[in-house]
């Protein structure tokens, strides 16, 4: 326990009654006394506050910074305008997934890449190994905190404590995947309209010593109207309903972007690490594919076997009860010929084969 890392908001979580668990080497709240289902609903209907300070922040600086990242990430980074962000994958020469990241273009010659907490050291080494000379690389993961505010009321609450540096802009006017510098609760911050919940929302990057103040000010601004802190438990149910991949569960260095359903993040008409291997995988066509499952009669969990007529055909990578869709939902890799929507499969739960059907994803879509 003693060697677990703590985010600058650790005391806030404990004070709020957060149930703390180990996650990616950090002591993090899995839920607060309100419980996962109530937290999940708060984000879908009102607003929730997340401590994501365990995640990694890599800064890239210099005239060739954009081109350098473009050579490492699957998506179109060269095409990002200042103030725009894009999701993409770090891939290796084998064309499998090192991490999934969001790249933000903060200025002409300044980019931010946000990486998963469990992958910070690995990604740092990977980036350094592929970084051309002359590009500044600054891993500020240990100095920066990340607070997300997500949900239909996120914009209203955040804008009440935010001053944008560009006068004519407003928080409400920031487009999805837009990013800007701002002062949040009096602190210098980077504010982006990104998230991992399927709702409208923002991610706010601040220096560690400002995190507690920003957190408390946001809670004070939104608390009376229902803003509550959200733990990792609801973060997982929210992202799974929206079918966002979780690194380490749904994607890893044994999966390629095509079978993982992330072909849309891959721009093959450019050079980047792993491009040729991915192009070949796409050409061959994947042997297996990730699919959404609806399970009736039990909750499928990571690692459970997927069955067809009594034979093991695949594996569940993520599974839970979805509080908004009110169904047991899962993601699983299955052979391509069994990946069609409507296919009847089963998941082996406690030695019994429980019916599961391949369904369209996302399981939940805002306003849909």
């Amino acid at each position: 326990m003693t060697d677990l890392k703590r985010t600058p908001l650790h005391d806030e979580h404990v004070r709020a009654g957060g149930k703390m668990v180990e996650f990616a080497g950090y002591d993090m709240p899995i839920q607060y006394p309100t419980g996962i289902v109530a937290e999940h609903r708060a984000v879908r209907t009102n607003a929730g506050l997340f401590d994501l300070s365990h995640m990694g922040e890599f800064f890239f600086i210099g005239p060739n910074a954009g081109a350098a990242i473009d050579g490492m990430v699957s998506s179109d980074i060269a095409g990002l305008a200042v103030g725009q962000a894009r999701y993409g994958l770090l891939t290796n020469e084998r064309g499998t997934i090192v991490d999934d990241v969001i790249v933000y273009r903060l200025a002409d010659e300044e980019y931010l890449m946000v990486v998963n907490a469990a992958n910070i050291a690995k990604d740092h080494a990977h980036v350094q190994a592929h970084l051309p000379a002359g590009v500044g690389f600054d891993d500020r993961s240990d100095e920066m905190s990340l607070i997300a505010i997500q949900g239909p009321r996120a914009a209203t609450i955040l804008s009440s404590v935010t001053d944008l540096e560009v006068r004519e802009q407003s928080i409400e006017g920031l487009p999805p995947f837009g990013v800007t510098r701002a002062r949040v609760a009096g602190s210098r911050a980077i504010v982006a309209r990104t998230g991992y919940t399927g709702e409208d929302g923002f991610e706010v990057f601040v220096d560690n010593d400002r995190a507690a103040q920003v957190w408390s000010r946001l809670l004070a601004a939104g608390g009376s109207t229902g803003l509550i802190p959200i733990g990792l438990g609801a973060r997982d149910t929210l992202r799974l309903e929206s079918r966002f991949s979780l690194y380490g569960n749904d994607i890893d260095e044994t999966t390629d972007p095509i079978e993982a359903g992330l072909g849309w993040t891959v721009k093959l008409d450019k050079a980047f690490v792993g491009r040729d291997a991915i192009a070949a995988a796409k050409e061959r066509g994947p042997k297996r594919r990730i699919v959404g499952l609806e399970v009736t009669g039990g909750v499928a969990r990571h690692g459970y076997e997927v069955m067809k007529d009594g034979t093991v055909v695949g594996q569940v990578t993520s599974g839970t009860f979805g509080p908004t869709v009110q169904k047991n939902i899962a993601l699983a890799y299955v052979p391509t010929e069994l990946a069609k929507v409507g296919t009847d499969l089963a998941v082996r739960i406690r030695d019994r084969d429980i019916p599961a059907k391949v369904v369209k994803t996302p399981f939940y879509k805002r306003g849909g």
Binding site: I30, G35, I36, V37, A38, R301, T320, F321
Partner: protein, 134 residues
């Protein structure tokens, strides 16, 4: 402050037993449901099934994980709570009421002696007896 009603007997695995003649109703304690978090799925044996003390009686799944429920006593299942299968959240809302799990015909009333008194259960879950009951 988990409630521990005075009229029940308890197992160390956090089940409760309400004895009525030679039958008993079984559920999981307030402490257990607090530890589990939001219950989203309950699996229980069918009427007529025989359960043995300390063996698995069923499964409750929360959003986070699946947990076994152990039979605190042996016997034949006379009834299972269909309402809790349809509405698993009853386990959280009323663990000692509508969230009950099965009604059992006791095979051996002597087994009841191995169960914990309310006071013993309170100290088992690390609480002062004075703090219970809310």
């Amino acid at each position: 402050m988990s409630s521990v009603p005075d009229d029940l007997r308890y197992s160390k695995e956090h089940e409760w037993v309400r004895v009525d003649g030679d039958t008993a109703v079984v559920g999981i304690t307030a402490f257990a449901q607090e530890q589990l978090g939001d219950v989203v799925f309950v699996e229980l044996p069918e009427k007529g099934a025989r359960v043995r003390q300390h063996s698995s009686l069923g499964v409750v799944e929360s959003v986070k994980a699946a947990s076994d429920v152990y039979a605190p006593i042996s016997g034949e299942v006379l009834e299972r709570n269909v309402k809790v299968i349809e509405s698993p959240e009853l386990v959280n809302a009323q663990p000692y009421g509508d969230g009950w799990m099965v009604k059992v015909r006791l095979a051996d009333k002597g087994e009841l002696g191995a169960l914990l008194s309310p006071d013993a259960y309170r100290s088992h879950i690390g609480e002062e007896s004075a703090a219970a009951g809310d």
